[in-house]
Structures are given as C-alpha cells and as structure tokens.
Amino acid sequence: MTDLTKLTAAETARLIRDGEVSAVDVAQAHFDRIAKVDDRIHAFLHLDTEGALGAARRVDEKRAAGEELGPLAGVPLALKDVLAMKDVPTTCGSKILEGWRPPYDATVVQRLRDADLVILGKTNMDEFAMGSSTENSAYGPTRNPWDTDRIPGGSGGGSAASVAAYQAPLAIGTDTGGSIRQPAAVTGTVGVKPTYGGVSRYGLVAFSSSLDQVGPCARTVLDAALLHSVIAGHDPFDSTSIDQPVPPVVEAARAADVRGLRVGVVKELGGEGFQPGVEQRFNEAVALLTELGAEVVEVSCPHFVYGLPAYYLIAPSECSSNLARFDAMRYGLRVGDDGIRSAEEVMSLTREAGFGAEVKRRIMIGAYALSSGYYEAYYGQAQKVRTLITRDFARAFEQVDVLVSPTTPTTAFRIGERVDDPLAMYKADLCTIPSNLAGNASASFPCGLSPDDGLPVGLHVMAPVMADDRLYRVGAALEAASVQRWGHPLLEEAPEL
C-alpha cells in the first residue's frame, strides 16, 4: 500500500476526491508518523487529534454526499503556534502564554477550515518568532530531520521540520525577517513569504507589525502555490491587507516556465561569510535557470548590506511596543499576585518569569532605540535605510523580473553553536531581511546539497510587490529540472528517521 505521508498535497487531495483513500485514513497516517518520529524531531507543541479527525470525517461525509471538494480538501497541515486557533493552546513558544486557549480563529485558520484542510496541531517556534534556530522556544528546540544535531532554522523550525519529516505535507509559517524562508532552505523544503499585506494577519500574534507576513511551507512548489491561494486575499479584519486579486500563483506553478524571464543575481549577497558549498550550489542553480531560457545578469543593490542592522533596530522597536500587551492582567501567566504587590510589580515579575533571554534582549534594544535622545540615531536612521533598500529594489526591478541570492549564508548550524552569540545568529537572515523591509514577495526553493557537508541549500528568489506568481514560475521550473537531474526529489536523500 502507498505510504500516505509521502504523497504531495495535490496528490493526496486527488486521491481523496476520487474516493481512493479516506481523509480520516490520511490524517491517521500522519498522526502515526508523528508518533513514530516526533520524539526525535520535536516539531509539534500540541496535537489536535480530535479536531483533526473530526475535520477529516466531515470531508469524507461531504464526498459521500456528492458535494464538490476543494483542491486541498482533506489534506493535513501543521500550523505555526503563533496563529490563534479557537480553543486550541496557542503559546508562541513562550511560557507567558502557556495554557492559553484563544476564543477565536485567525482569518488564516478560518480560511483553512473553509477549504477543508485538516489542521493536525501547532508547531514549535522561537519564542514570539524571535530567532533563526528554534532554540529560543521555551519548550525545547526542534531538530533538523537531515541531522538531528543541527537546527531546523527559525523561527518557523517546527513548521519546516514537520514538512521535511513527512509529518505533514503542508504547514503555515510566518516571516518577519526570514522565518519561513531560512527554515525552508536548511530543511530542503519550499517556503514562501508573500507580499506584505497579501495574507491577513488577523489573529497572528504580532512581533513586528510592519514586517510580519504569513505564508506557505511545502515539499513541492505546486503544493505551496495551492496553499498560498487558499490563505491569500483581502481581509477587512486586517487594515494592512491589500484589496487586490491574489496573484495567479497556481497557474505560475503549473506553467513552470522561465523562458525570457530576466533574473538578477544580487552582487552584494555573496562572497565573504558565505559557505563555499552554498555558493557552488547557488551558482549551479543560476546556470540551470540560464539553460532553461532565463536571461541572467548581475545587479547591484548597494544598501542591502545595511538591511541587517536596520532590521535589528526596527523589529525590536516594534516588538517592545507589541509585547507590552503581555501585562499579566487579561490572559496568560500571572506571577506574584499575593494581594499585597502592586499591578506594576506583578507585571514586572511575570514578564521576568515568562519571557526568555532573546525576547528580553529585543524588548530592551527596542526600548533603547525608541528612547528620547537615541530615537534619531537609531530608529530614525533605520527607517531611512528602509527607504534606501526599497529604492534598491525599485531600481533593480526596472532591469530584471526577479532577483536571486542564496537564502542563507551557510547550511544548518549545530544546536548550541550560536546560542550565546546573538550577532552570529542574526547573520542567518542577511539575505532574507531586505524583502521584509521593502514588503515585496520572496521564497526559498531547494537547490541541492552542499558538497562540503551534505546539507540542503536554498535558492532565494525575490519578486516585486504583488508579483508573487513570478516566484512560483522560477521555483517550479527549477524544481522540474532539478528533480530530473537528481532522478528524485531532494528530500529522498534525507536519512530515514
């Protein structure tokens, strides 16, 4: 019998529609897989077995009743624990929210339910999405299925690892500085950060509101596109959501055609600090795109290198404000309320006990950058850099249709290696951050294993605002040619778990 966990989302949905398998059997196969491997991976913080099997049963009933099923009906999905899901624990990887059950669904969750996806559970993440390794989770790290001594990326390491370890064919991530794309790169999976405003943020626990974006994680480009089209589109509950048609991402993924597409290699995102094996696979992917008919040129984006320092001022500034809501009064942890201490003392004790080291670091950097006397030199200057980076993109997109770089400077590093060196950790997001600052669409696609350590490398593709479909054209063309060259999908080279 077919291993139901090895199928793509598109194939799974087709088999369910055709009545060849039941949605309940598909969900159960994934829970069995999770039971078998998640003690070693730790991708999940919470499983919603009852809710998922109920949703799967409803899909089977709909089919039996002759109702038409959507393109992803019955497909299991893993949800990053930063999105509110009614009555299901939502922790953001933090002790301060332990045990909290949201009283409502995020718009993304509502859309997943409306499309009959089966939400298996909530995935591990760096606390409040602050990190590049998932080591900042208060509930312990997630491990990379390619090598369990290594990080799966972050902050969405749980979502990426669940997909790479065949615990779910699809997952939802969020990306503030690379938290979908960097985990995708280091786990050999597909991760897309849609255009800022392309997917609703209603019900997403805010980290840095001008940067946060929800997006799809998958094993294939078409699967990511199918999920993208389910979650994207205008939402009146999010005033930053764009009121325009969703770019034709599924059509682009099916077309898989880069003939005549102008591709710009970003000169500044390479060289010193980049692992040679990463650069080798990146260069091969670019050569492959040329063979497939793309026109490749080199492009300069001189301010991209300032993206990292600007990001580590803007994101902490916004987070210091956003995380002020964790005040121990209305939900979550409350520490030290003995009837004598003041609200302010209880608040300080709770935030001390409830937040981890990285969250504290960032709140304080933000408080510093926003404080009077420093505002202009730090936050004000960072906002100007943001303008310069946006202008770099605009100039580049006059010459080319998409930009490319490696997704990350290195492959997955070892657990513990960068824990006490914040600056080294932050460098993992060097290539991904500019797209968050400018708000344009970006994605990471597998482009092989680094010859120096045998670990996955990602190709980072950047497209203009609301041209998300171009990502899928490139990704699908690269995927088809690579799979043909390798003889199988990249993930089949990962060790058995």
Binding site: D337, S342, E352, I363, Y368, K384
Partner: protein, 105 residues
C-alpha cells in the same frame, strides 16, 4: 566607549517592566552593547534628505462602516483570565487585577 552601561540596561529593564536578576544584567549588558555598536552602522548611509519609511504599504487610514455585529461574550472574553491561587482572576464579569494605586495615593 560602550554604547550602553549596566546602569542604563537596568533602567531600560525597569521601563520595560522586566524584573531582571543581577546575573541576567551582568550577562545582558555586554551583549546589548555589542548589538548596539553593530546596528549603529545604519548612521553610515542614511543622509538627511532621505525620507523615513515606517511601513511598506502606502496606506493611510482604512475606514469601515460602524455597524453593530456579533462579538465575544463577557464569559468568552474572561475565559483566558490568569490563574491566581488555583482559580481564575475574575470577579463580577471583570478581570480581577492587583492594586493599581500606591498606599500613599
């Protein structure tokens, strides 16, 4: 010269309402200093005449009709209230909070 002293970090922690321990202060202060010295690079490039960007979308205010629609009930809104001494800190359909005024007030 350090960008930030241990005393300044302690002051920030008070502003941010985080009751940091001495050990944490000793550990965090030099880390914040390294981070701030590094991010200060932003001052190298951004000249006076460049307008700041606070947000990637050219949005101003987004309005909707002010219509009555269903929302959470008081019970639902209070359901997540913090636990104090084994029970939820809720009283008379309200959140029960620690005292907010000082004794001298």
């Amino acid at each position: 010269m350090p960008a930030i002293s241990r005393d300044e970090v302690a002051h920030l922690a008070r502003l941010a309402r985080i009751d940091l321990s001495d050990d944490e202060l000793n550990h965090l202060a030099p880390q914040l200093d390294v981070i701030l010295q590094s991010v200060a690079q932003v001052s190298e490039v951004a000249a006076q005449d460049i307008p700041p960007t606070s947000h990637p979308l050219p949005l101003t205010n987004v309005f909707r009709q002010d219509e009555i629609r269903p929302c959470l009930s008081a019970e639902e809104a209070l359901a997540g209230a913090p636990i104090v001494d084994g029970a939820q800190a809720v009283e008379d359909e309200r959140f029960r909070v620690p005292r907010i005024l000082g004794e001298e007030a």
